[in-house]
Symmetry: C2
């Protein structure tokens, strides 16, 4: 019987992170923790796509700088994003003389990059890797939903794609924040077809991975100070709590969702934030700081992703979802 | 100074492969080696996208079957494809109760999946993984270029996206075909903007990775029976030979390109085949057979990818390219 959890016995460290976010995001919880607050979500570029790529480049570059490393000490960049052909990651990688591993797990990409990067460092293949991802409201909206100029009304179950990017340097040693294990998720599809209801679509995938993680590690929700999901939003988070409770796991006391907490006034964005940048920014700024500087010692970071495209939705398909989880602990 | 080549000291094995291809492809060199020849490139589905997904599902399922494994012995599926949001891989993964790692390197995806899968098995994290990818002429053409119904004339430097899929099971033991090392590529962009001239765009990336591989391993082209590139096509292959020769490496004697050899009458498809399925089918059928059953003992498999999208081309960007290489040897 296959096991889906891998253990990092050499405890690779997250030695530094860097984050950048847009004005709406910086008005919320992450504002005082990001490396750069953008006043203009175009970031001086003439297209939103170029702005998204520039944010990701910023996060990668500053994560390396914050780690006190030179670029040529970095063995690999593991990155992906929501845009077609993960162009933000590919074009950001063009600016670095670093091998590039493109990965895609929609909004779960940050956790997938942590898990692969953790294994590559733990296994002794690489000494330092950068894991990074990002998203932009305006690129995601026009790629997945409607032209921005159309000004469509949003349904109450919708979320708002985070404009921001986050990156982390994973090294074989340095500091006290370690990756200790990872659980790779299966694709789970409960038949949701509403592309505005991502939280409901992704919650069963999060449940599947969390319960697999608890079973295979022998841990319980209480063993973590925080169980952090990526971007289920307010509605999806409530669904996840119910779904895990039904299976005998009570995550109610220590669960927090990056999408639910990222915006200051959640009502404005209905169910909260989403996007590959959502968990990347919240995890690598606010939550990383909380681990280094007190309070939180053990986090299970379970980022979720909806693996749809406009083509599959157009062809009548439902939304397959995934969740990858990594345990990050202060040692 | 970072090294971009990783060594697999436990020599994970490619224990089995499976391939499937369309009628045009099966008229060529791979016809007698694939597990299934398609008479109809719709594969009984109502859309080309669903046919592409079904081919990939077939390759994954039959690779597991050919390896004599049960599905629950497989620890991970590492897969990606050319379609937006790698839907063929994600939707194929939905049918398997196996953790899914989505990867994207355009037409280099097969080599990226081999390299990551090799490391995960070599490092002891997983016992058996499936690496798989595929492509379909009709889905790629309408996504990247023009509607099929438009009947556009193709320029002489164009290639033809292969309709096919290939998968392989990588295990910690079994058989004699082993992954021995991998070189991850950097993103290389020489400023080519012609989306019909992929071979010229990708050749410098192949040169970069091949030379990095030779330098870091201390090997020379003569140490391999075959140096196999993914889908440079006839023109791109000639450019690669020149570019490597300029740097003191003569690959002329043992280089072969999957795109150049895949079709029976290359003139019909101008420069030959391309697509994530091109190297996946040729490598996992014809070349895998040649290694098991005589002649070829050591292969450097260097698949190349063009990391563009229609959005980047529309915004005036050039084409960033990448090449990942894995050494596959009979031990």
């Amino acid at each position: 019987m296959a096991k889906h959890t891998i253990f990092f016995h050499n405890r690779p460290r997250i030695v530094a992170t860097a984050t950048i976010a847009g004005p709406k995001e910086c008005a919320g919880i992450v504002g005082k923790y990001v490396d750069k607050q953008l006043a203009d979500d175009r970031f001086g570029e003439d297209t939103f796509e170029k702005a998204e790529c520039k944010m990701l480049t910023y996060a990668i570059e500053h994560a390396i700088e914050n780690a006190g490393k030179e670029h040529d000490e970095i063995d690999a960049l593991i990155s992906g994003d929501l845009l077609n052909q993960i162009i933000s990651a590919s074009f950001a990688a063009r600016d670095f003389n670093i091998p590039f591993l493109g990965v895609y797990g929609a909004c779960s990409t940050m956790a997938e990059a942590f898990a692969i990067g953790g294994a590559m460092v733990d296994g002794g293949y690489f000494s330092n890797v950068v894991a990074a991802t990002g998203s932009h409201f305006s690129t995601a909206e026009r790629q997945y939903r409607y032209p921005l100029e159309l000004g469509c009304t949003r349904p109450p179950q919708a979320q708002w794609t985070v404009t921001g990017a986050g990156g982390a340097v994973i090294s074989k040693e340095g500091g006290s924040v370690a990756l200790t294990c990872a659980t790779f998720g299966k694709v789970v599809d409960y038949g949701i077809t509403d592309v505005n209801n991502m939280g409901a679509a992704m919650a069963p995938a999060a449940r599947d991975t969390l319960i697999t993680h608890f079973r295979e590690t022998g841990r319980s929700p209480a063993d973590y100070d925080l169980i952090v999901t990526g971007d289920l939003g307010a509605l999806g988070s409530r669904i996840l709590k119910d779904l895990t409770w039904e299976k005998g796991y009570d995550i109610g006391k220590n669960h927090v969702d990056c999408g639910e907490i990222v915006y200051r006034v959640i009502e404005d964005e209905f169910q909260g934030g989403s996007g590959a940048g959502c968990s990347a920014v919240v995890f690598n700024s606010y939550l990383y700081d909380k681990r280094k500087n007190g309070g939180i010692r053990s986090v299970l970071f379970a980022a979720t992703g909806a693996l749809l495209s406009t083509v599959t939705s157009g062809q009548g398909e439902s939304i397959p979802c995934i969740c990858h989880a990594v345990a990050v602990e202060v040692i």
